[in-house]
Symmetry: D2
Subunit: 285 residues, 4 copies
C-alpha cells in the first residue's frame, strides 16, 4: 500500500466548494484515490473526504496545510489532512471480557487495522497474559466503587503519557466521567450491546429478553457525557428466537459486538467518520 493523504472537510454548503478543492488538488497534481461528498440538505452542511496518492502530489504535507488554509478560511471549513504513515495511536480499555479485545488485537497483529496499539488499560488482571503475548503494555487500574476519581486520574495520565489519540472502550464496564468525555471529545469509542436507542443503560440483553424482541444488536458510538446517547458510528443486529436463552443471547451478541466495534474503529482510524451535531456522516467504502 503506497502512502496516501486523507483530506477531510466539513463546512456550510455553498456553490463552488468542490471546484475550489478539486482545482487546488489538480494544481498540485494530486491523483485522487477515493472521493466522497455529502450535502445535508436540511442543515445546509457539506462534507467531503479525499484520499490522494502522496507520491503524486507536488507539495509536501506541511506546504499543503499552509496553502490549503487559505481556501479553508474562505469557505469556513472544519478540516484536516492526515498522512497514512502517521499511524493513529490507540489505547484500549477493558474489564474481564475478552472477545472485543482479542478481536481488535488480532486484527491489529495481522495488519488489518492501520494503527499502533499503545496500551491496554483494565480494571482487572484477567486479560494481562493475553495482552502481553502481543508485547503491549498492560495497565491494571482498579476503580473502587466508593472513590473513582483517583482511578480516572491515573487512567488519564496513562492515556496522555501513551500519546494515544483514540481510546476504545472494548467492553469496559465503567462509566467514563464527564470531564474525560469532554477532554477526549469524539476520540472515545464505545461498544454498547444493544441496538440503541433501545435498551439504554445496564443489562441490555436482559431487557431485550424481557421485551421479547426478535433481533438483538450492538452500537458503536462516540462517548459523550450523555450516557449511551453519543453520535452513532455503526450498528448491526442478529436474529434471536424463543429457543435462545439469555446465555445464548450473550453469546450471539458478542459476535455482533466484535464486528460492529471493529468496523466502527476502522472507519474512525481511516478518517471516514465526520460528526455534525449528534449525527455522523460515515464515508464507508
Amino acid at each position: 500500500m503506497s502512502k496516501t493523504f486523507r483530506l477531510v472537510i466539513s463546512c456550510p454548503d455553498k456553490v463552488g466548494i468542490v471546484a475550489a478543492v478539486s482545482q487546488y488538488l489538480h494544481e498540485r497534481n494530486s491523483s485522487i484515490v477515493e472521493a466522497n461528498h455529502h450535502t445535508d440538505a436540511e442543515q445546509k452542511w457539506f462534507f467531503m473526504r479525499h484520499v490522494v496518492d502522496a507520491e503524486s502530489m507536488s507539495v509536501d504535507i506541511d506546504t499543503f496545510r499552509k496553502e490549503f488554509a487559505v481556501i479553508a478560511e474562505q469557505y469556513e471549513m472544519d478540516w484536516y489532512i492526515n498522512s497514512s504513515d502517521e499511524r493513529p495511536k490507540v489505547m484500549l480499555m477493558a474489564t474481564k471480557e475478552s472477545h472485543c479485545l482479542n478481536d481488535i488485537l488480532h486484527r491489529w497483529h495481522t495488519q488489518e487495522l492501520q494503527c499502533d496499539i499503545v496500551g491496554v488499560i483494565a480494571n482487572h488482571e484477567d486479560l494481562r497474559s493475553m495482552v502481553e503475548w502481543y508485547k503491549i503494555p498492560y495497565h491494571c487500574i482498579n476503580v473502587p466503587k466508593d472513590d473513582k476519581m483517583p482511578a480516572f486520574q491515573a487512567i488519564e495520565s496513562a492515556i496522555d503519557e501513551s500519546g494515544a489519540d483514540t481510546i476504545v472502550l472494548a467492553r469496559y464496564m465503567q462509566i467514563f466521567p464527564e470531564y474525560l468525555c469532554n477532554k477526549y471529545r469524539y476520540r472515545v469509542i464505545n461498544i454498547h450491546h444493544s441496538f440503541l436507542p433501545s435498551f439504554v443503560g445496564a443489562k441490555p440483553y436482559h431487557q431485550a429478553a424481557v421485551r421479547g424482541v426478535k433481533l438483538i444488536g450492538a452500537t458503536c458510538h462516540y462517548v459523550t457525557a450523555d450516557l449511551d446517547a453519543g453520535p452513532i458510528i455503526e450498528q448491526d443486529v442478529i436474529r434471536v428466537r424463543h429457543s435462545h436463552s439469555a446465555t445464548d443471547m450473550v453469546r450471539l451478541g458478542k459476535d455482533i459486538e466484535k464486528l460492529v466495534l471493529s468496523r466502527g474503529l476502522r472507519y474512525h482510524l481511516e478518517d471516514r467518520v465526520l460528526v455534525h451535531g449528534n449525527k455522523t456522516v460515515v464515508f464507508a467504502q
Copy 2:
C-alpha cells in the same frame, strides 16, 4: 396441499406431556407433518405445535376435541385444534397508504396466504378502487377527531358482522380503543414502522433520523391497550446511510413493513404464534 389439523398446546412444564400427546396421536394413527416443542426454562412453561395429516387420523376433529380434552385437563393445557380447511377470516384496516394493503391482497389473491379476506375498513376513500378490483367489500368509516366512539362502534359492527377472527392494521393511522383491544385480544395485528421498543409512538422515521441510527426497522405485534407495547411477533431492519433523506427512509421502510407484516400474519394464520405473558413463541419453519 392435503388437509391437515394443527394442534397447539401451552401448559405448565411437566414430565410426560410429549409422551401423552404423541401416544394419543399414535393411537389415532396420526401421521405427523411438522412438530415443534419449546420449554421456557425460566417460566417453567411448555409450548407445542403439531401439524398432522387429517387423512391419516382415525377420528374426525370433533371426536378428537372430545377425546383430547381429557389429556388437556390432566396437564392444565391451553389448547386448540384447527383444520386447514377452516380458513381464518381476516378483516384488513388501512388509511391512505397502500403498500401493506396491496402486498397482503396480492399474496392472498395468489393463494400464498391461506385465509379469507372478508373486508377492508378504511377511514378514507382512497383505496376503494384497489380493494374492489379484488371483489372485497370496502367499508369507509370516517373517524372524526372530536368524536371517535361512534366510528369505532361502526368498526366493531363491521368486524362482527363479517365474522372476522383476525384484524390486521395495515398502516391504519388511528389508535385502537382499549375496549376493542381487550375484546379482540391477540387477534389484532399491527405493523409499527420502527424497531420497537425504539421510537414508540408517532413519526418513528423522523425520530430515527434525528437520533442518527444506522438501521431502521419494522415490528409486527399484537395490539394491546398499552400503545406499541404488545407481544412482538416479528421484526426486521434495513441499513440506512447519511445519504438517505427522510423520504428515502420512508421508502426503504415500506419494504420492511410489508415483509414483516406479511411474515407475522402468516405465522398467525398458521397458528405458529403462542403468546405467554407479553412474549411470543413463534414456531417459524
Copy 3:
C-alpha cells in the same frame, strides 16, 4: 422534488478530470445535490455521476450538452446528461407469475419509481386484468415452441412503437434472442431466481434444494446473448432451512426477486448503473 440533471461519465483515469468537470459545473453556477466518483485502479478507468439542481444552472440542457462535449472529447469520455423531467419509458414483460409485475406496477402507481410504464408484453392472457386496472396497454404475444421468430419480431415492434428505452423481464419465461439482446444492449433488465453464478439456467430453486444450500437468492442483471451471464446490477439472499420445502423456497424466493428487481430497476432508472466490461459500478445511495 425539484428538477435535476444527472451527468454520468466514464473514461480512462487521468489527473484533472474532477477538476475540469467541477470547474465547468461551478462556472455554470451548478448546485451539486449528489456526487459520486470511482476509480477502478486495476483497469485504470474512472466513473463519475453528478446530480445537479436544474434551477441553479445558468445554462439549459442543450447548451450544456454542446459546451460539455469539448471537455468530454479531451478526456475521451463516455457520457450523457439526463433531466429528471424526461422520464424513462419502460416496457414490462411477464408470463403468468404476477409477483414482480404487481410489485413494479404498485411502486410506479405510488410514484416511487420515476418512469412511465408504456406497456406490458406477456405470452399469456393471465395478467391482463391486473395490468388494465392500471390503465396500461397489455400486449399478449404468444411464443410458440416451434417458431419463435415471428413472436419476437412482434415483440420488437411493440417495444419500438412504444418508444420504450428500458425493457424489464419481470419473470418472463422465454429466452431473449441474441439479436434483441444486442439491439437493446444494457437496456434489458432480467431477474434471475438464483444467486448467480450458482444455478444458471432453468429451475434454480430445484437445483438449490438438491445441493442443500442454506441461502437462496436472486440476481438482477442486464441481459446479454450469454445466458444468465450479463453484468450484475443487484443481488440478495434469504436463509432457508431443511424445514423449507421446494414450495416454501419458491415463496421465499419471490420476496427476494421482487426486492432485487425493484432495487436494480431503480438504480437503472436513476442512471446509477455504469457498465464497464462485464461488471457494473452502481452508485447506490
Copy 4:
C-alpha cells in the same frame, strides 16, 4: 450447565416413531430440554434430536444404549446418544492465515465451544507461538509438492494418536486425500471462502471479483472426496461494492469465514447436524 444427553436419530419415516421414543423417554422419567423433529417428505426420511436432562433419567447411559437398541432396531434407526460430559476431541489444521484459528481458539478458551482442542497441525511454523500460548500441541508437518503421501500419513498418525473425533480445516491450504476423506467421513469440516456452489476451487474472491457479484460468502461443509461438494452445514454472505478492491474482499470475507466456520463447528459439536445423502438437516436453535 447441568449434564445432558443428546439422542440423535434418523430413519425411514413411519407412524409411531415419536410415540415410541417419547414413551420410552417418559418411562425413564426423562426431562426433555430440547426436541426437534423433521420429516423429509420427498425422501420419506425422519430425523429427530432430543436433549434430556441427565439427572432426571432413571437409567445410566449404558443401560439406555442397551434398552434403546430394541426400539432402534424396530424402526431401522441410525442413532447415537452422547453425554455432554464426554467432550468431543478436535484437531485443528491450518497453514499461515490465523483468523479462523484465532477465532476458534478464543471461543474454546472462553468456554463458548464445548470441546477439547487436542492439537493443531500446520504445514508451516508461522502459527506456533499463538497456538502454544493456549498450551496446545503444535504439529508442523510440511507437505512437499512433489511427494505428499508421507506428509498425509504423518497427519493421519497425529490425528489418530490424539484421539480426535473431529478435524477442522481452518483455512488449511492443502487438498485432503481421498483415503482420509473416506476414513474420517463426516468428521472433517472445511471452510470454503465462497458461497458454494459458486466459485468452486482456488481463488474464489478473485473469481467473484471477475464476475462482479454483489455479495461474497463462505461455506462450511463436510469434506468428501469430491472437491468442495460435500454436505453443506452453514453458509453466509456479506455485501460488497465496486469500491471494494480484491484486498477488501479478502478482509470482509475473513469475517464471514470465521463466523460461518464457528457456527458450523458448534452445530457439529452439539450433534445438531444430521447428514442424509449429500444434504444436511441442521437443528439449529
